[in-house]
């Protein structure tokens, strides 16, 4: 696997760590942030951040793997 693929896969793990593995740790109401109970704030926060994580992954793949771009299209 190319370097870009590796880095983007690592980034791709972030939603699984924050939105699955971390759930037992964040299953509580306090502190309330922006009016949301903590568990809901945590979920919304990471759902909102995931597109940016994926965009970064997209950039990284492009940056490191641009050599094979010819066959992508």
């Amino acid at each position: 696997m190319t370097k870009g693929k590796w880095l983007s896969l690592l980034l791709g793990l972030i939603p699984f760590l924050t939105l699955v593995l971390a759930l037992p740790l964040v299953n509580r109401v306090k502190p309330v942030i922006l009016g949301l109970p903590f568990i809901l704030f945590w979920i919304v926060f990471w759902v909102f951040l995931t597109p940016f994580v994926l965009m970064a992954a997209y950039r990284l793949e492009k940056k490191y793997d641009s050599g094979e771009k010819g066959q992508e299209q």
Binding site: S8, L9, G12, P15, F16, L19, V20, L21, L23, P24, N27, R28, V29, V32, L34, G35, L36, P37, I39, L40, I43, V44, W46, V47, F48, T50, P51, L54, M55, A57, Y58, E72, Q73
Partner: protein, 471 residues
Amino acid sequence: MNTALLIILLTIVISAGLGVYAGSRVKMNLENWTVGGRRFGVIIMWLLMAGEIYTTFTFLGASGWAYSRGAPTFYILIYGTLAYTVSFFVLPAVWKIGQRHGLHTQPDFFIQRYESRWLGVLVAAIGVLSILPYLQLQLAGLGLIVEVASEGAIGSKTAILISFVLTCLFVYISGLRGTAWVSIIKDVMMLAAVGIVGVGVPHIYFGGFGRMFRALLEKYPNHLTFPGASPGMETPWVMSTVLLTGLGFYMWPHVFGSAFSAKSAQTIKRNATIMPFYQIPILLVFMVGFTALLVIPGLKNGDMAFLEIVRVTYPSWFLGFVGAAGAVTAMVPSSVLLLFASTLIAKNIYKAGFAPQTNEATVLRLSRILVLIIMVLALILAFYFPRALVNLLLIGYDGVSQFFPGVVFGLFWKKVTRRGVVSGLLVGFTLAAILVFSGHDPFLGLNAGFVALVFNTLLTAILSLTEKKDR
């Protein structure tokens, strides 16, 4: 004639009209009909994917779960996000193999990758069995929404009849292109409805989200943490469920198939990065459900919470608007379910199983005839046997998720074998069915489909590794 009724009927007719128009100027062949000629760009892909993914369940179910179950409803917000992340890595590879070999459907992929027509037939059969109950669910939802939103002026059966026949018409003529165009109307109307109600209702009754949540926690202190009001839905259940549904999401034949309609692998990748934004409106749907629990407690059917609170809060024309949005929200997924059920039967069961010589023009003709046959069957079921397929719905997700190892190993692992995939799929599917129908879901606190998927994956891997190569 009242305004609500007019808004609902106009929306249904205009949507169907746009759907018909979308494909009427294109010379139709199988490629154009099933995968839109493989020419969709990022924006139209986003609208199409959102169009078929956000169904009546999103509307009624997410608010219904917030109302009657509480925190477990948060799983909906999570699993979509996981699914888009998976799709970022998996779908471009699916698209490439589809482009190289001219694939149209999910079973096509299995036939191509594992060189087995019968595996294709098996995948198609499981696919169709999962799609049909899902289609019935959309129709039932549509009938319910329109009946309530028109305050009884259009009965549920009339609503189903009118909108489903029109849906079949645009599918017959335009195929996936029709779905994509109608998605535009649907997405705009649903976002408007969810935005207005989701922001409006908590403000009208409590003066804001924060105060609404404070009131909710005072009255129901355990509602907003797992397991909420559903004792079986502890944190491990949520974790295993979001994994199962997140991985299984793109394994639905109609969602998988839609990936082929993209114009390039890059389009799909870029589409995947912006898809999670579409999850945010679901947060507003939750707000509606939570507010409804405080304002109109004691509803027998929690799924009615959204419509009921709109009914008691807003003027009747706005209820009509919400009903119209709900109707298109059912029409779009119905159209794509119908399209792929027909293609799966024509191309992957009839042609692959019984008549390999059939040419593409005949497959298209047959698929279109099947649209009409399924329409009639679905209407009969909806009118006379509304509960006939309910049991199948219980294992829909569990069933299609079992395709995951076959797809992902098939794309990224050279050693995977046909025997491994077939055995894993059969064992996974059977195990899920046994656990669900014997009342063992959740199993040891975990989602039964997830347990089955773990067995399936292990079995596929072990058999593939131990198989002696003949060649």
